[in-house]
Amino acid sequence: MEHYNMNLTLKVWKQKNNKAKGAFETYKVSGISSEMSFLEMFDVLNEQLVAENKEPIAFDHDCREGICGMCSMYINGRAHGPWHQTTTCQLHMREYKDGDTIVVEPWRANSFPVIKDLVVDRSAFDRIVAAGGYISVNTGNAQDANCLPVDKQRADESFAAATCIGCGACVAACPNTSAMLFVSAKVSHLALLPQGEPERKSRAVNMIHQMDTEDFGSCTNIGACEAECPKGISLENIARLNREYLGAMFSGSKEA
């Protein structure tokens, strides 16, 4: 692969805190290597800002290998940028060419208030999981792991849903800011396994209730969530969640 360097213009959302009004600011960076990751390009910019005695741009990031779900940039109008099934931290600069302008915003959703610059508060996701995204088994209660065979196909489907990293791109991508893909991934992960069966109905009902309480929007089957999901979580999960929820409601399950 040919390596090259480039100069770029960045328009980045700056917002002092969640009470302040934000605005775009324009920055120039030069000598960006095509081998850098997108966040390493931000490291270069921040080093430049520190050297100029300015305040660097706040952004969330941690593992930088696409699994922790912390990074969350909205790049040129797309959650996590242009690469298919890729988090911001795994996007690399060979996507761009010399002279490009890149616009970077935080996730935009009422349920994800901005903390500072590109950093948002996604604790609503934790509260949705706390509402029922688990199997109630205390440590020490378990039987031998192989006592319970699980159909391989179902186990694989469950795993596919469980690979959700909770980054919130689905919400950011959705015009309605719906969290259905996230919630459906969690519900599917557990509903597809025999271990999840006893709490299957109450789980769906309680998690949906919490999702509504957090003021996420409604799902209108647009599909932007699936298209932008860095882990390829399928829309089939939303269909399953609807079935789980309706089934639970028709059988008289109430919120617990």
């Binding site: 692969m1 002092k16 290597s33 081998e35 850098m36 966040l39 390493e40 490291d43 921040n46 080093e47 800002l49 520190v50 005695n53 300015k54 305040e55 660097p56 706040a58 990031h61 941690d62 593992c63 930088r64 290998e65 696409g66 699994i67 922790c68 779900g69 099934q85 890729t86 795994q90 903390i115 500072k116 996604r122 604790s123 934790d126 999981v129 706390a130 688990y134 199997i135 088994v137 440590t139 020490g140 209660n141 378990a142 039987q143 792991a145 319970l148 065979p149 159909d151 391989k152 186990a155 469950s158 795993f159 469980a162 690979t163 990293i165 909770g166 992960h189 396994l193 271990q195 999840g196």
Partner: protein, 658 residues
């Protein structure tokens, strides 16, 4: 102060059983009035917080990330070991124990390691019950694969995302306790001091990273589950935020630091591509199940990998270690890669890389698949296509990650890999009950030093983190807190809290007021370079002595010239990082002191002065059969305490994988 490891007496395989049935208990009513602080929510912290919450303790958990689910355990790829013997290939609790002791180059405690092997099977049961979607066979039962340093298949896995699935399992358990009100969760908080009252750890000072406010939290006991300190090298496979701060604050309050120089360099990581590099990415050890490692036989061979014929390739691990081949332990594989590259056989533009090649595995799987599908074909393209699908199912996410980072397709051309800092076996010294030398202060998971000796085997970190959190601390904590049931919660206006908060505040103000010219990042990079060059894969007395002086000088420079922008009372990642790098600048010196003191090679610690003629690590059991536990005295002053390692069952011998 004499170190007491509190290993129970009796036969090796009855120590833990006896402990469990004779330790003191706390009744449910009393548990409700005992408060526990858990710092860190990775596998050790989340499992401990959830389990202690279930038991009825009042738990407060803290993490610096925006959610407990993001702790760096999430990035563990390959798997988790357990002595289930589901494969009927001769595994047993003893064998897992033995492999771990040998893998650690006979520098771990027998009692701890045996306990770890005993509870390993319970971990798998627990995780399956929680809904962790491990890989399964068509019959519906759990699948296993091989990892380095063993000859059985005992590793349970979920594609290349095992850590993620295990952590989500523990996180779900934790959130369930949050919803029940048993655990109070504090995300985006960083612990900055241990509060000591009457010689015991009784709380912490934490900084709210959103508002910048300092908070005081009381606990009858404090559990540090804060991971390892590999980021002292700047470049490592750790997350950007992984740090030593909590452990280092504990160390300065009297907790001894065990074996700080024991660092694991992982053999298969994506090589450094330039000065901009901010972290390194691991390619799971599980890839060595199927990948073959090689370099060209000729020096400076610049042909493309696929143009180099079979007979001109040197599969150096298979050549040097025929019994274990590509699955030798990490320390051995890393040194062998370094040896080839240093000798001029490296590949890629930097020449600091070796190949990890899947072509033969793809072909092998392709043939099996063709046979299964009843295709009597010998067409290579068909076979390779079928094989690629199998490899994709096993390692797809890793191959994707490699392709995104390097821009190359690893299904077609071999991966280029090189060793990188990955894990630290050293950590806070703890006794059998996981308590540090500070009463009521515990360390779990990678944050402690206890179970892996001088080298950790693959798939054993997840095992240890969950063992400590799910199955060890619930017993050992009660044994201590049974003496504390009449201790009332200490109000946080107690002078000890006031003084601790003032110390933290003063230090933050000092950092902010330096107003120098050099960024925190720049100091961190400079420290990392010293550490990697002089306290990395190979170490010698001259380099270590130099490094100690260089680190001291760098620390002085940091405290007079660092620039921390922004304000204290706001979200300020630069300030968070400045505090962490300041602590790394002290830890780095202790690591070099420890490495200099340990004038032998063992596991991941390779002293060039102590090697065999064939370049293998040479231990010196006569002089170094001990744990180094360092006590902090003052700046740059540490006192060494030795805990002798008594091997009652295993007889230490030269570690051979040939």
């Amino acid at each position: 102060m004499a170190l007491n490891s509190k290993i129970p007496s009796g036969q090796l395989d009855s120590k833990w059983k006896t402990y469990k049935s004779t330790c003191k208990l706390v009744n449910p009513a009393n548990k409700r009035s005992l408060e526990i602080i858990v710092v860190g929510t990775g596998l050790a912290g989340a499992s401990a917080a959830a389990t202690l919450g279930e038991m009825g303790y009042k738990v407060k958990a803290f993490c610096f990330q925006d959610s407990p689910r993001r702790a760096h355990s999430i990035a563990a790829q390959g798997g988790i070991n357990a002595a289930k013997n589901y494969q009927n290939d001769g595994d047993s609790t003893y064998r897992l124990f033995y492999d771990t002791i040998k893998g650690g180059d006979y520098r771990a405690r027998e009692g701890n390691v045996h306990r770890l092997a005993e509870v390993s099977a319970n971990i798998i049961d627990q995780c399956v019950a929680q809904g962790v979607p491990f890989a399964r066979e068509y019959g519906g039962l759990l699948s296993n694969r091989s990892f380095g340093g063993t000859q059985v298949q005992r590793t349970f896995y979920a594609a290349g995302q095992t850590g993620q699935q295990l952590l989500i399992g523990a996180y779900q358990g934790l959130e369930r306790q949050v919803s029940l009100g048993n655990v109070e969760m504090h995300s985006r908080h960083e612990m900055l001091e241990i509060v000591m009252v009457d010689g015991k750890a009784r709380g912490i000072i934490a900084r709210n990273l959103v508002t910048g406010e300092l908070e005081r939290h009381f606990g009858h006991a404090v559990l540090l589950c804060t991971g390892g300190y590999g980021n002292v090298f700047y470049l490592s496979t750790n997350a950007m935020g992984s740090n030593v701060t909590a452990a280092w604050k504990a160390h300065k309050q009297g907790a001894f630091f065990g074996n700080p120089c024991y660092t694991q360099i992982h053999p298969t990581c994506i090589p450094v591509s330039g000065d901009h590099q901010s972290k390194l990415t691991l390619m799971s050890e599980s890839l060595r199940n199927d990948g073959r490692i090689w370099v060209p036989k000729a020096k400076g061979d610049n042909r493309k990998a696929t143009d180099i014929p079979e007979e001109e390739r040197d599969y150096y691990l298979e050549r040097r270690y025929p019994a274990f081949g590509n699955l030798v332990p990490r320390d051995v594989a890393s040194r062998a890669a370094k040896e080839r590259c240093d000798a001029g056989f490296g590949v890629g533009s930097s020449k600091m890389a070796v190949y990890l090649d899947f072509a033969s595995a793809i072909e092998r799987y392709g043939k099996v698949e063709a046979h299964k599908q009843g295709l009597h074909t010998t067409d290579k393209n068909t076979i390779m296509a079928l094989g690629r699908d199998v490899v994709k199912e096993k390692y797809g996410n890793l191959f994707d990650m490699y392709a995104k980072i390097t821009g190359e397709n690893p299904y077609e051309i071999p991966m280029r890999i090189y060793p990188a800092v990955h894990y630290t076996m050293g950590g806070l010294w703890v006794d059998y009950e996981l308590m540090t030398t500070v009463p009521n202060l515990y360390a779990l998971g990678e944050a402690n030093f206890s179970d892996h000796g001088a080298n950790r085997l693959g798939a054993s970190a997840l095992m240890q983190g969950l063992a400590d959190g799910y199955f060890v601390i619930p017993y050992t904590l009660g044994n201590n807190l049974a003496n504390d049931i009449s201790t009332k919660a200490i109000p946080t206006d107690h002078p000890a809290f006031v003084a601790a908060e003032k110390d933290v505040n003063d230090r933050i103000n000092r950092l902010m007021n330096i107003k120098g010219t050099e960024s925190v990042e720049s100091f961190h990079k400079r420290l990392g370079k010293i550490m990697w060059d002089k306290c990395g894969m190979a170490r010698n007395a001259k380099g270590l002595t130099e490094a100690i002086e260089e680190i001291k000088a760098l620390r002085k420079e940091f405290w007079s010239n660092v620039r921390v922008p922004g304000d204290i009372k706001e979200f300020n990642p630069e300030l968070d990082k400045a505090g962490r790098v300041a602590d790394f600048l002290e830890l780095g010196e202790l690591m070099c002191i420890d490495a200099l003191n340990r004038n032998e090679s063992c596991g991941g610690h390779f002293r060039e002065e102590s090697q065999t003629e064939e370049g293998e690590a040479q231990r010196d059991d006569e002089h170094f059969m001990f744990v180094s536990a360092w006590e902090y005295k003052a700046d740059s002053q540490f006192e060494l305490h030795k805990e002798a390692l008594d091997y009652e069952v295993v007889h230490p011998s030269a570690r051979s994988y040939k």
